[in-house]
Symmetry: C2
């Protein structure tokens, strides 16, 4: 068992709202049997939970947009149905006119319909302009006629669509008098409110098993001459008038704003929290599990006392903290931009778009790899579903794909950085976060021994140099061409452009971590521990990407040895606080749902008890079959084989 232990009191999680009943103790929300359920059972449980939650929220007077929802989502670990209903509401709120909002939002919030969001198609994902669903305006009936012209145009993947939704927002190419006006959103009813049967012209169903998300009925949707009234096109920014005149108001980019907000909001719930859970499970297990001996004649050592295990897990712990703080940074950026947008100022939208893209890509990719490391670091038991790690992993890996494929997002960030780099070099104004791009000078890292590499100034400067150089050399290179060659040149630089975007995000993350530690209003002891984590995050990044720091001689081989030494020294230092540092994430046992990660450390007993609940231990009919294959009784003739 784990010893009684010190607590690190740093507030990382939202405070549970006052007089908030326990969601976790409610049997309807139990995740106890989750690992044993089929896709269908998971879906049914998720629907039950969603309905139960709505009842509770109604009783308590909570709203979908209130502060409680974040806490609830954490408590149920996202394992409820109708989450796309929230995206349905959000897209109408952002893209709908006041009249549309007045009509649809009350229906949705009172659950008189179940909404979904139908954007992705079988043949098109991130490249929205390529969507093939059509919406043709019929002036005679004042309706849009929606169609799925071919198989690849079928909507595919939308959550809550396979079995639940009654309505959805369909993104389709708008045609008026044979002319295409690009992709627009339309509210379409797909199932009857009377008997939930599919509406005329609608084909829909479930897309089948996925790597995770068994609780969600990701669906497909085909439309055959489905007519919706003219009023069903969301028309806050674009409108088709009765005579077929197309009117646009404001920036078309605002159509993608729903995606930007989703992209930012998923980072905390779908990425950082799972990463923190994985760290908690793996680190707690690593102080219970013993293997082999560090010294002859001694007891077997806890595996977290091995340098190799520390080097696997502790950088992931530091990453979890780094990403927690960069998420705050992104939220602030978002709030600032959103205030401007509400004042009809769209100037800061490109910066928000570029950075939310790049950070989404970096955070999801590093966190996915971190959870994989945590899983593998727990050996065979990590591979058991009962550890909780396989489900965390198979879920977080999806975050690299959904809401924008990571490589494409990084290239969007890179395009923005190149533009800023050129502007900055030309003395034009650029956002404060990228002014550093103008200031790269050749030079050498001034640190003279391994201790100096524990100075945030030294390593932040190294990251800045590396990021600026990565961006600048791309901006100076082949990209400055014109005509068709320009596109070939861009394609031939994309591997390095994506690296440059990642370098920028990594730099900002290190810088933000260092600044956050500096400002920490907490006990000196906590600040010191946070400083260690910040150092570890920074030096691990240099150690793991040594090439880019060594490339132009900014860091020398001898300095890289000092960095390595400091980095490895830090592992042993942070090892001492590793358990309190994961305790500080404040997950309950129920929320972790892991036989390896519970607070009390009763790993083996719990694995054994949980395994008893597996349905495979309640199946007997196969035994007859096996029996028949063996030579039963004293006979020497095996029934089947001989």
């Amino acid at each position: 068992a784990l010893p009684s232990r010190v607590t690190i009191s740093i507030q990382l999680t939202p405070l549970r709202p006052a007089r908030f009943p326990s969601i976790e103790r409610d049997p309807v929300f139990s995740r106890e049997n989750q690992y044993f359920q089929s896709q269908n059972e998971r879906y049914e449980a998720a629907v039950r939970k969603a309905v139960h939650l709505q009842k509770k929220m109604h009783e308590m007077g909570w709203t979908e947009s209130g502060p409680e929802f974040k806490y609830i989502y954490r408590a149920v670990s996202g394992d409820i149905a109708f989450l796309l209903h929230r995206i349905f509401i959000r897209s109408i709120s952002v893209l709908g006119s006041d009249k549309q909002i007045a009509k649809w939002i009350p229906l949705a919030t009172q659950h008189k319909l179940i909404g979904s969001y139908a954007q992705t198609e079988l043949g098109h994902g991130t490249y929205l302009q390529g969507l093939e669903t059509t919406a043709v305006f019929d002036i005679t009936t004042q309706e849009f006629i929606l169609n799925t012209p071919k198989v690849s145009a079928m909507k595919w993947w939308p959550g809550d669509m396979g079995r639940s939704a009654t309505h959805t927002v369909v993104f389709a190419q708008l045609y008026i008098n044979g002319k295409c006006y690009g992709v627009h959103p339309f509210i379409v009813q797909i199932r009857s409110l009377r008997d939930h049967s599919l509406c005329p012209g609608i084909t829909a169903g479930d897309i089948g098993p996925k790597m995770n998300f068994e609780n969600v009925d990701n669906g497909y949707l085909m439309l055959q001459n489905v007519r919706v009234p003219r009023e069903n096109m969301l028309n806050k920014f674009c409108e088709v008038q009765p005579d077929g005149t197309y009117v646009r108001q404001g920036s078309q980019k605002i159509n993608y704003f729903t995606m930007t907000t989703v992209r930012i909001s998923l980072i905390s719930d779908e990425v950082i929290i799972p990463l923190m859970k994985a760290c908690t499970i793996a680190i707690r297990y690593s102080v219970v599990r013993r293997q082999s001996k560090l010294k002859p004649g001694k007891q077997e050592a806890k595996i977290l006392d091995y340098q190799t295990q520390q080097e696997k897990l502790l950088p992931q712990l530091a990453t979890a903290y780094a990403f927690h703080f960069i998420n705050d940074y992104l939220q602030e950026l978002f709030n600032r931009v959103y205030r401007e947008i509400r004042k009809k100022n769209f100037n800061t939208l490109p910066e928000l778009h570029a950075f939310s893209s790049g950070f989404k890509a970096m955070v999801t990719q590093y966190s996915t790899s971190a959870v994989q490391i945590c899983l593998q670091a727990c050996g065979g038991h990590g591979y058991s579903s009962l550890s909780g790690l396989p489900s965390l992993y198979t879920r977080i890996i999806a975050s690299c794909i959904y809401e924008g494929e990571n490589t494409i997002l990084l290239l969007q960030t890179a395009r923005f950085l190149i533009k800023c780099s050129r502007a900055a070099s030309a003395g034009q104004p650029v956002p404060p976060s990228v002014t550093y791009l103008a200031a790269v000078k050749p030079g050498k890292c001034p640190a003279k021994n391994k201790l100096e590499f524990l100075s945030p100034d030294i390593y932040t400067e190294a990251y800045q140099h590396m990021a600026a150089r990565s961006v600048q050399r791309m901006g100076n290179g082949d990209l400055i061409q014109s005509g068709v060659k320009k596109h070939d040149a861009w394609n031939q630089c994309t591997v390095q452009l994506a690296q440059a975007a990642k370098a920028h995000c990594h730099y900002i993350t290190v810088k933000n971590f260092a600044e956050t530690v500096e400002k920490l209003k907490t006990e000196a002891g906590i600040q010191k521990i946070m400083k260690h984590l910040c150092d570890l995050f920074a030096l691990h990044g240099i150690f793991s990407n040594a090439g880019v720091f060594l490339h132009d001689g900014y860091v020398s081989g001898a300095q890289m040895d000092m960095i390595t030494a400091s980095y490895l020294d830090l592992l042993a230092v942070i090892r001492k606080d590793a358990v309190p540092l994961v305790d500080a994430f404040d997950f309950t046992d129920k929320s972790l749902n892991s036989a390896l990660g519970s607070y009390d450390g009763q790993v083996y007993q719990r694995l054994y008890e949980w395994a008893q609940k597996s349905p495979t231990n309640k199946q007997v009919r196969m035994l007859d079959y096996i029996r028949a294959t063996l030579c039963i009784s004293q006979s020497t003739r095996c029934l089947l084989f001989f």
Copy 2:
């Protein structure tokens, strides 16, 4: 659809034995519904397949050890039961006396019993000396009494043990007159041959769901005063005589030889074949999928025409070929050592052990990461189980853990390399594969332009320099200490020691690939293509591990730019042959079992058709529940909420 295409005729797969009936077309072996089945259904199907296969083998006169089994295993993709039965047979063949072999092998090969192999415990995996199960010799009855003294001593994970096996080889600490003689193997019956019920003193069951291997009943086993006769200890190398005298013959290391043989045999079936499958699926999909435009006004481009997609997939393709060839190298090493062992010469065993460990670690780790890249490179559709990629991934990741945890294996390789490095420096004889360790000299890579980096001599030399330096600096460092400090020093070097071991294996893989291409007896055109792949594998490795090549200045920053340029150029060259290069792996559509990877490229139609078969599309009872949550009929009162 894919165009008709050229064929690359390189023989990579075992030729189908003459007059061999199609395993794949046999309905019992169908994997068509695999993605929709529960753990229990998968297990039952696997048992049915195993029994059906035995019948077929009996009819055809094939044996377990015959050449056909490799082909069969590939055809059924490992999705059959009773595979541990083969390990049971192998361990008795290797560790049993002639008398034991004469008694047990016929029973096993005639399937009069179902065997398993019970080594791993809840509390101990790779560190075998720590196993806690006990076997106490009772001189009065001439029996061993086996016990599971505590929860952590329970056998946990053995395949075929949860529900199927009747017998198993239990590894336990042998005690005679209170003295412990270490871990030894004992044959123990666990289930009745009459009615398959558990034998007295046996508790056993299924350990529940895992990330994959639903077809296998990995199990647990507790022993309570289970008695087996003295003859049941496998005693080719160690024996307990009737009077309790313990006699050892030969090396104790031979006890681990079963593991070494398993480790080598899994590389091809469980790692390289799945990697080749993942490459086939992802590359075929990437020439069907189109996204965005490379040039304005043109058709959307195939995603494999984007440099970033090439950079994801083509290095994995090169890796699949590199590992195919290194597997041949390992097989040869194994055959050479095995010939010696049969002549009672154990001298080459350490080399085999060290290299099988290191290559197992490198091949499984790189292949796991490669399959993950293939999955993510297919975007959302790669995440669908129907792509086949999730099951390939969740299965291959286990190979990093089973048969020896990778980090521990790398450290065993490192220990051997350090020893050899010191011996070589002292002028003592070392195996030919490591003589290069004596010959590190400071120096610089002589290549002057990017084309020179396409010379195998240049890059092989660079890898050799890097590997030798990585090993040597560890050998020269803190490790030369004595007493307790020696163990601390070792622990503090393990991160870098593991890197050194990987560097050695990477070097040998590059060298072996280059030599194989050189010797290829095939058309010149094929040799040229293989040379491109070899170049790509080598330069990708330098590009991705730039730090170690730059560190001591062997490669300069300017040279690294040349390497990067050559590497990126190669992507566009190999792109042209990418489809034929995966066709050459020669997988049938049934064997790939992927909606994305079929030969005809009908991706979208197949995804749609396969989704129809999902049980989630046949469930209706939840609809009533959803209906009740909505405002049905014209009433304005929602039944549940308001």
